[in-house]
Symmetry: C2
Subunit: 405 residues, 2 copies
């Protein structure tokens, strides 16, 4: 008997038939003796459909009203899921974010959870209900409806799990768990049984889309164990835990790749103090999310600065560069959209300094050129040409023997 | 400068373009100096679409969860309408039934309003906003979301108008107001400028669909003046007022017809005490809404009982009759679905006893047979054959000279 929080995303509840299937699984879980709290997202594309309606009304929807609009999506799902569970003769009750007391700050569209008053959840569980909670939404202390932004339903699930001290928080997805590499790229990629939250954070930050950084971070900060698993199978997935394990850790746990970055190189910049501050200040002012930064060794008092940004920030980044180009005395600048970031991640890298050269050697042996490099204590990332990405992932997966247990 | 509550139903806000048009009208109204509170329903068929989703999940949706589901419809409209008004550079803010403090009893799907805490409405008006409120919905004192049942948005509008002491409550519809008869049947039917709420109540009860009985009753009880008018014109419609007017009243104000009734006749019932009580007790147990009742004069200790019921109650009514048939000693029973109820309504009828014979004479002259008759102090209704209904309406409209001011 466990207390379980389990989260289903939009594709798992896309149609009434999907919802009935999820209801069946939840009732079976309840029958094993577990107490079950389920967090759901809006059905399938319904959030996009609501956004389309807003688009037809105005180019600049008010953020408060956008939250008022979008939160209806999850409210539809919780009502239908409650009906589906009740139809199987199991007690169930649904709550909106407001009703369950998910109190957030007032940053509409990207609110942060401040507190959860989960009293009604505990009472409903005691009364034998499966408790269904709308993900992605909360309420300010003055009663304004808010949303939590991207990955918000995961955050709701983990926050509720923390608030009621759940034994585990299932994040159900369309894959079987976290893999040593993208199985679409590496045929013998292996599902990871257990991974530390710090490794998972690095993976999420470097291209593994299965869990959002924000939810992994939230789980780590609140001591919540995540079980990342498939929505429609009973197979165990990947446990993400904040606890230190006693077993000797693998040096490298996974290879990730991210093709969402573009690279900007600014050439012939004067090599004097304040240049970088001006450039990156301008980028920050434009709300550009800069990832990797490299400054070349100076030649004759001139240097090159390269950095990567996500594609969605690219037009703002270019605007910022154009604006400061003369001020920083840049000769010219170049945009390369066809790049990929390849990373290896492993908690064991801390104590195995040879990993860096092993990675570079493996790539060099295949003739893959490394453009930029960045490191953390448990991650090594390289920017390479986009076309080399699949080969690089396969090469590194093999070089670090990730296909073996 | 007036304080105005104005309500738009689902067909007036069916699409983003409709919503933009309504926004334009509201902003123009605000620019005249009026303070504007607007109540809206769910867009077009969206409530039916939500019901279809529930239908796909279960045949017996839980009433609490049905309210959770259906209230999303109005929430979508208020958000979009707020965006549309803001897009015209006018301040606007939307509130759900819960946020505006529409407290109801806990009768899900047909809740009654107990109290309204309209503080946030007054504050928002003071701050120069057009205030947008979701119709049809409320919240119990324990925070459960409820809906008010059919015509619920009208009830919301009138309740809000009462709570903030509005000068008038506009009920916007797809017709220009209340007519002396259905303009589809009577070519020279005339729009009524002012009508008393008691006449309007009788009209609503006898087939005039433009306003619901419940909302007219609510308005009368709370001293709210209704202005029933067209959503998309500036023409004055019909004022429904609880105040006694000084002018001499027309004897007959309108002719209505209702083709939604069926007639059941039970033949050869023993004429002894308790028979009617048994029959109508059984109908009440089945929740059948009995309208007119006639018992014939007894012949040889046997009598006939006829009554009318709405078509939607017919199958339950038949079940009730079959169940008690033997107990009340009925020889046989007959169903007639092809009937219509024709009514004349007028506050002046109270003091003009000749109206009854005038009505019967007008129908008789056209060879229209009267089947059942029922009366109130300000209404006379006859059941006639369905096929005679259009002719009967035209004859009565002419007989009482309703085409003339």
């Amino acid at each position: 008997m466990a207390l379980v929080v389990t989260k289903y995303g939009g594709s798992s509840v896309a149609t009434p038939d999907h919802i009935k299937k999820i209801a069946q699984r939840l009732v079976e879980r309840k029958h094993t003796g577990d107490d079950v709290v389920v967090i759901v997202s809006a059905m399938g594309n319904s959030t996009d459909e609501l956004l389309d309606l807003a688009d037809e009304i105005t180019d600049h929807p008010n953020e408060r009203e956008l939250d008022m609009l979008l939160t209806t999506g999850e409210q539809v799902t919780i009502a239908l899921l409650a009906m589906a569970i009740q139809d199987l003769d199991q007690k169930a009750i649904s709550f909106t974010g407001l009703q369950v007391g998910i109190v957030t700050d007032s940053a509409h569209n990207k609110a942060k959870i401040l507190a959860i008053d989960a009293d009604c959840v505990k009472k409903a569980l005691e009364n034998g209900h499966i408790v269904i909670i709308a993900g992605f939404q909360g309420v300010t202390s003055s009663g304004e409806i808010t949303t939590l932004g991207r990955g918000g339903s995961d955050t709701t699930a983990i926050a509720i799990a923390a608030a009621i001290a759940a034994d585990v928080c299932d994040i159900n997805t369309d894959v079987n768990g976290v893999y040593t590499a993208d199985p679409n790229v590496v045929e013998d990629a292996r599902k990871i049984d257990t991974i530390s939250s710090e490794e998972m954070l690095e993976m999420a930050a470097s291209g593994a889309g299965v869990l959002s950084m924000r939810s992994v971070e939230y789980a780590r900060n609140h001591g919540v164990t995540i079980h990342c698993r498939n929505s429609f199978t009973d197979e165990p997935g990947t446990i993400v835990t904040g606890e230190e394990t006693d077993m000797e850790q693998a040096i490298v746990s996974a290879v990730t790749h991210d093709t969402n970055d573009a690279k900007i190189t600014i050439r012939g910049v004067e090599d004097r103090p304040g240049i970088a501050a001006t450039l990156f200040g301008a980028l920050a002012d434009e709300n550009v999310n800069v990832d990797m930064v490299i400054q070349n060794i100076s030649e004759e008092g001139l240097t090159d600065i390269s950095f990567t940004v996500p594609h969605e920030d690219l037009s703002r980044a270019q605007a910022a560069v154009v604006a400061v180009k003369d001020e920083i005395g840049a000769r010219t600048w170049v945009l390369d959209e066809d790049v990929a970031k390849i990373s290896i991640i492993g908690a064991g890298m801390r104590t195995h300094p040879g990993v860096t050269s092993q990675m570079f050697r493996a790539l060099a042996d295949e003739g893959i050129n490394i453009d930029l490099i960045s490191t953390s204590p448990i991650r090594l990332s390289c920017i390479i040409a986009l076309e080399d990405a699949p080969k690089a992932v396969r090469v590194l997966h093999k070089a670090f023997e990730l296909e073996q247990e």
